[in-house]
Amino acid sequence: MTMQAVSRVSRRRLLGGGVAAVVAAPLLGCASGRDGPSIGRVVVVGGGYGGATAARYLRLWGGAIDVTLVERDPSFVSCPMSNLILAGLAQIGDITRPYSGLEAIGVRRVQGDAVAIDAQRKEVRLSDGRSLPYDRAIVSPGVDIDAVEGLGSAAAQQQVPHAWKAGPQTLALRAQLEAMPDGGVYAITIPPAPYRCPPGPYERACLVAHYFKQAKPKSKVLVLDANPEIQSKKVLFERAFTELYRGIIEYRPNNELRQVDAATRTAKMDFDDIKVEVLNVLPPQRAAAIARQAGLVNINNRWVGVDWQTMESTAVPGIHVLGDATFSAPLMPKSGHIANQHAKVAAAAIIQRLKGEPVEAAPMMVNCCYSFVSASEAIHVASVHRYDAGEKTMKLVNGAGGLSSSANAAEARIAQAWTQNIWADTLAI
């Protein structure tokens, strides 16, 4: 089904008329007619890798369960693979997928902006005044970025994009790279960890360098990292920087951005001002605003603590939190892959709680992240995590996980297959 066809169908549904909508609404989530009485209502806030997977698995495993997914965007746009767009190796349509698969399995999708959660009344409130009652809520809101001095205005943010949420900013950054004259410098600033997608900035540096090598061979990539070293796949990115992109990529650790002059695209560091042709600032990050509003943020004033056995917030009972907004377990990255795994643990636990059954004693999670270092070669980092009841956290399984031995073409193909499979698993495509 094409995207246009999907939107025609949903428009027809919306136009179904007031009475029909009122009658249909209680039936919608239910499938209860078929599967027996509903075991409960779950409202999921956020339709990214975490929230969409949770909605999908609640329906897959829960039988008669009412699931509502609140998402402000009309379709899913993947952050993983979005760096390929910057190199001209993919289009935005390649990383965009519809939510129609979730609707087809009985998820009620609400396009709107969740602005508040009333945990006493058990309601999620939307900016348009609607409120959605729940028995259990899932919040998978992603990250918000900190304000950066000099990037307050919309114009400044357009001039110096982050492109750390895939979509219009990705396209804006691509347009700047295309417009840049040969011989220019692209600089990317990396915030102190933890931030979304630890290997992402280094992959981006490689892919922009790949583009320059093909199209603008006199141009340079400057990586200004607030951290003391490369944060993921270190030896592999070091090799890419020094072998594939010798003379193109310059990596500077311990370089924290203090301020930006957007008009001149100048990054102001502790000891120097760096003026470049394309400036890409990744600001420090924290759990998105709805998490703070709901009283979920309880670690370092930035992140949400969770009970790793169920993903339930340690601050507010009845609300489970997934993905990048969580305070990560030791050596667990903020990745789309792991958000999908969080979602499955949460879905299983919620269904078992609603049924009054015991929850899984020792949940497991696997992470596997691919990064492209060029159009034809990729690398991975993998890890396996197991719940430790004594320490009440997810711990790495000793001896498991690791990196690619070297960048290789097989993993570039596998990365593409990974994408298709995780999107299908997440979105019920």
């Binding site: 696997v366 396996v384 197991r386 399984v397 596998i414 298709q420």
Partner: protein, 102 residues
């Protein structure tokens, strides 16, 4: 109902709920594979091996070979080491019982 019948009924209920919990654990474990290998093992394409309907002994043998290094791999040698033999047995039985993709 006499005391013996109640005892048997209780024992059956307990063992049924244990079996239920084991089934759910196998399902949950299998879901750690599905990001790459497809929901319930029904992968799209064949770059990443579809596991649905694969005989359990083939999965067990393959995982053992990944673990030992006998079977070269890009990533599976690292992931296989994260699961115990008992867990692999449960995963294998779960996937073997799933209908393959049409």
């Amino acid at each position: 109902m006499n005391r013996r019948a109640i005892g048997i009924a209780l024992a059956l209920a307990v063992s049924a709920s244990c079996a239920h919990a084991k089934d759910l654990s196998a399902r949950n474990l299998a879901a750690t594979c599905s990001n790459c290998h497809g929901t319930d093992g029904r992968a799209l394409g064949d770059t990443l091996k579809p596991l649905a309907g694969m005989p359990a002994d083939r999965i067990v043998t393959a995982m053992a070979a990944f673990k030992s290094g006998a079977q070269p791999a890009t990533v599976m040698h690292q992931i296989a080491k994260g699961f115990s033999d008992e867990q692999i047995g449960a995963l294998a039985a779960y996937f073997a019982a799933q209908p393959a993709a049409k």
